[in-house]
């Protein structure tokens, strides 16, 4: 038996989509709404994460509440029985990079987080 069966995924997602196949599995409504100010937590990530280091500790604004899905930190190890809400958060570039030119103070960057990474500001 090979270590990683690539057909697992298609079997749960075909006809529904992924993350759509996890709809309704987060166990409740999203904690944040569009426009909420949030800070990205700086949590340990010894094994696997998709939360970029450059966002840790930064404050941004929820731009989109996207969907429910297992967090990649769990899903990478096959744990798909618990889902979270996901959010696209918008940052001002000048809040992410100290040297970002002030002339372009309205430039922004968006990226996505599962709920565990966000705290209300």
């Amino acid at each position: 038996m090979s270590q990683h069966d690539r057909t697992h995924h298609a079997r749960i997602a075909t006809g529904k989509g992924d993350p759509q196949c996890f709809a309704g599995t987060a166990g409740g409504p999203p904690k944040f709404k569009v426009g909420d100010r949030v800070r990205i937590k700086d949590m340990p990530d010894i094994f696997y994460t998709r939360c970029q280091v450059y966002t840790r500790g930064a404050v941004g604004e929820v731009a989109v509440v996207t969907h429910e899905s297992p967090a990649p930190e769990d899903e990478a190890w096959g744990h798909v029985d618990k889902s979270e809400w996901f959010y696209i958060v918008r940052f001002k570039q000048t809040d992410l990079w100290p040297e970002y030119p002030a002339a372009f103070a309205n430039d922004t960057l968006q990226t996505e987080f599962s709920e565990r990474w966000l705290e209300a500001v």
């Binding site: 995924h9 075909t14 006809g15 996207t66 996901f86 696209i88 570039q93 960057l109 968006q110 990226t111």
Partner: protein, 232 residues
């Protein structure tokens, strides 16, 4: 040694038919003869694998430019909207991987905001609707620098945006995939969907270029004009 070569010489080719190459051809011919598929259907799928020609995403943008109702659907449910351009996201073609499913989102440019997409963690890309990633999209150079120095990187692609246009980078890091819907350029008034589709090239959909009348992915490559052209 490479410096012994004429600089205009074509790139080296493998001048040998390996058993693997012969095997691929032989299996394919036998399947076609048995009626498992037709040569034309096979060619279509191969063409898709090589992402030649306008992508379904280009047509989605062109349709949305022309039809406000369709545009509403594109912005609220891009997965449903992709069916109108022949892509079924819920039953994706099987090139790969979990990342062929995903949640498609369209980023709408305005006269004051320009979007550009990157995946800093790997090379996430909306393959079912946009084909395979270009090589540069996978390079650490693009991934590392675009999030931090977007205007500089865009300028390297030949896209210099005025200061009054805000740049919004989308770092595609989870299960959402993105295409950019550029602003419909001036000079395309009265154009058909097919004409508009032609100018929405792959790079416009990633956000490293803007559509322009007359610029399509099928444009002839620039050539050195003959100093003494021959007339026949």
């Amino acid at each position: 040694m490479s410096h012994d070569h004429d600089h205009n010489a074509p790139a080296a080719m493998v001048d040998e038919i390996s058993d693997f190459e012969a095997l691929e051809i032989a299996v394919r011919e036998i399947c076609i003869e048995k009626g498992l598929f037709s040569a034309e259907d096979h060619r279509k799928f191969t063409e898709f694998a090589e992402h030649i020609g306008p992508t379904p995403a280009a047509r989605m943008v062109a349709k949305a430019w022309l039809d406000p109702e369709y545009k509403k659907l594109v912005m609220t449910d891009a997965i449903a909207a992709s069916k109108a351009v022949g892509v079924d996201y819920l039953n994706p073609t099987g090139f790969g991987t979990p990342s062929d499913y995903t949640d498609l989102r369209v980023l709408e440019d305005t006269p004051s905001v320009h979007h550009v997409v990157v995946c800093t963690l790997c090379s996430c890309y909306p393959r079912p609707i946009l084909g395979f990633q270009p090589e540069w999209y996978r390079t650490p150079n693009y991934r590392r620098r675009l999030v931090r120095w977007p205007r500089q990187v865009l300028a390297e692609f030949g896209l210099t945006l005025p200061a009054e246009v805000d740049v919004r980078v989308e770092d595609s890091n989870q299960k959402c995939r993105f295409i950019v819907m550029p602003v419909r350029p001036a000079g395309t008034e009265g154009w058909t969907e097919d004409q508009l589709t032609e100018i929405v090239t792959r790079d416009c959909l990633i956000g490293v270029a803007l559509p322009k009348p007359g610029v399509t992915s099928n444009l002839e490559l620039p050539v050195h004009r003959a100093a003494k052209p021959a007339h026949h």
